[in-house]
């Protein structure tokens, strides 16, 4: 008897799982699907899950307004998720399922380890893929674009700003974790400092499993830097680096790609972080637009106890760009949207109109570059203090040469 009950329960469980799958299959006729293939479980999920918060706010807003009007049709938007666990083989299965099964017209991905195995297929199918890491752009990946995050290019702007604002600072140290992201950050930051006339006295990557930063900071401080750049150190490293620099008695200017303030301010006093430079504002910054503020308010309402990170916004920012391209093309077909986006002189980016860039550095003009904000920490909160444009920076041929030389020295391929 009990065995039968158990069998029944097991069958029920299997059926409910199937029906879950079926629900996803029932879709309204005029729905356009966009794939979301990122790590949603395991240690890398911190890179995938927050993005869903932003995209769901975006999708709900568009659908509540009746859908996205493209040409003479109105489409509801649906995000189809796939958990790639940060693993290349699973990501390949994922993008195949999304493209062949769900017929998505574009895919949002993190980039990095999952890009090499998935790109040959996505290029062949001509499916646009939006990633968050510009250094994934390559000549043989025509449909891979980075339309939100200007990493690692914005490091050039941060360093230039620091050189302008702190003329006395002469020596800089750069550290970031030893992976593709960290190494790109180190190389571009080093180029930025050199171009701004600041000596780089220490630039080294640390292993991703590092838990103790005391020896690293001891080695850094031995070089007596005025500036410490954390490159693109992950949140769990930043606070520890700051803490070590503080407790080993160093005072100076800190810069990083982005911040996790809650954690840092738990370790070091506010004063230590005063004037620290980065490129990501909170979206309630008075210098930003009403759209940003509305998004911030909505996000705060939905996830009151989550901490804001650029990941929350970036996937959503990619959807903005995609929608613009679709409306301009009058079609949701991947290739049409792609052509429309690439044909546009300027494309609206969250931080203002952006232009395509990347041919010389990545081999393809697939990075959307707007005028990027520079933020400084004042009273424990980032505030926009300036806007800078990468194209202005690149106008100086000498600086440009320094950039290419440095990238070459760091073994990063360029396409000059």
């Amino acid at each position: 008897m009990t065995r039968k009950v158990w069998m029944g329960l097991a069958l029920l469980a299997v059926f409910s799982l199937f029906s879950l799958g079926l629900q996803e299959a029932w879709a309204a006729e005029e729905t356009v699907k966009i794939g979301y293939c990122a790590p949603l479980s395991g240690p890398a999920a911190a890179w995938g899950l927050p993005g869903l918060e932003g995209t769901s706010i975006w999708v709900d807003k568009v659908n509540a307004a009746g859908g996205l009007k493209v040409g003479d049709k109105t489409y509801k938007i649906e995000i189809v998720k796939y958990d790639d666990e940060g693993d290349g083989a699973k990501a390949l299965v994922g993008v195949k399922k999304l493209v062949l099964e769900d017929k998505v017209v574009a895919i949002l991905m993190l980039g990095g380890a999952t890009t090499p195995p998935t790109q040959p297929f996505l290029s062949k199918e001509k499916i646009m893929c939006f990633v968050l890491i510009a250094s994934d752009i390559a000549p043989d990946r025509p449909y891979l674009m980075d339309v939100t995050d200007n990493f690692p290019a914005y490091h050039l702007l941060h360093t230039e700003y620091i050189a302008d604002a702190h003329p006395k600072a002469k020596k800089a140290a750069i550290i970031s974790q030893d992976d593709e992201i960290g190494l790109a950050a180190i190389a571009w930051s080093e180029a930025g400092f050199k171009a701004a006339g600041i000596d780089v006295v220490y630039s080294k990557a640390f292993g991703v499993s590092t838990t103790d930063f005391a020896p690293i900071i001891t080695a850094v401080l031995e070089k007596k830097p005025d500036i410490i750049s954390m490159g693109a150190s992950y949140p769990e490293f930043q606070a520890l680096i700051c803490e070590q620099a503080y407790t080993q008695g160093w005072r100076g200017i800190i810069t990083s790609a982005c911040w996790d303030f809650g954690a840092i301010l738990a370790k070091v006093p506010k004063e230590f972080m005063e004037g620290a430079v980065s490129g990501f504002p909170d979206f309630d910054d008075p210098k930003l637009t009403k759209d940003h503020h509305d998004f911030w308010a909505e996000w705060k309402k939905r996830y009151p106890d989550h901490s804001f990170s650029e990941i929350v916004w970036e996937y959503m920012g990619a959807l903005d760009v995609w929608a613009y391209g679709a409306q301009k093309a009058g079609s949701v077909k991947s290739e049409d949207v792609f052509k429309a986006l690439k044909a546009a002189d300027t494309v609206p980016h969250s931080f203002g109109p952006g232009k395509w860039f990347g041919k010389e550095t990545f081999g393809n003009d697939n990075l959307l570059v707007p005028t990027w904000p520079i933020t400084e920490i004042h009273g424990g909160k980032p505030a926009i203090v300036a806007y800078k444009n990468l194209f202005d920076w690149l106008k100086d041929a000498k600086k440009k040469q320094i950039l290419f030389d440095t990238l070459k020295a760091w073994n990063i391929k360029t396409y000059q």
Partner: protein, 332 residues
Amino acid sequence: MIRRILVYIVDNFRWIGWLMILGAVLIVLPYMVRTYQVEVLILLLIDIILVVSFRLITTTGGWSLAHVPMMGCGAYATALLTAGLGVPFWISLPLSGLAAAVMAFILSYPLARTTGFAFFVASFAAGDSLRLCWTRFKTPFGGHKGLTNIPVPEFFSSVDLSAPIPYYYLALVITALCLLIMFRLDRSRIGHTFKAISMNADLSRSLGINVTFYKMLAFTIGSFFAGVAGVLLAHRLWAVVPAQFGFVTTLYLLVWVVFGGTRTFHGPILGVVVLTFLSELLKPLFEWVPMIFGTIIILTLIFFPEGLEGLGHRFTPWLDRQRFAAGDEPRH
């Protein structure tokens, strides 16, 4: 000779019959499922080589945590050979397996001297140092970006091995071949010696068996097949990145093998097949999945310590009772 084969077939008719049915199912399978699911099947075949070669090492008593990096060794070797030096796939396939085997042979010198817990940790450290080398030395391994542009295996020009179904058949043939060799090995005296060592190493020593040598042999042969699995993976993904061979994969490998059981040859295969289907089914639950797997594995070990294969043994007495009740003789 022919008569012997015929007698063998008749004697083992049941067994061969089942195998033929299985073969037929495997041959038509790709046409029964969706395209992306063929991709899952290809990865499953690769994982089958991986678990069976892993079991080969465990028959000597050592549970190697370096097995996934060994697969990486094969993958990197074929990437360097085919994409870098232009060696054809069919030559690179055994060569890359051999590369993994050579690497394993070198590492097995200290490893084979350790047992139990020390073997775990030492093999993990050995595998992890391989992975550190791939990330650290950009030439020739490409660092975190790994190696790309691995060519599609060439076959008669009419067959496009970049498409899923032809590649599935390629993987099927190679998997079948690998399993055949490993099955043969398992049933040979070498395999018996491996098992004797795991049953009692001291007794084996006292009987004149060079335990260290056989452990090194098992580790090397197992790693050879892990390398072959890596070759199949690399030529399917057309890219290798070090993150592919991380510790999470190793943990899943252990879970598959334990879930299936290691006493029999088919146990680990059963484990990986069932759990792969389960994880495809559970996909919509996202972040809950590791917890479900964790629970499954603990419950398996508590209630069926021998894994899925042990269920068969538990089932046999029950079957015998049913037969007995039906008036038949119990089968032995």
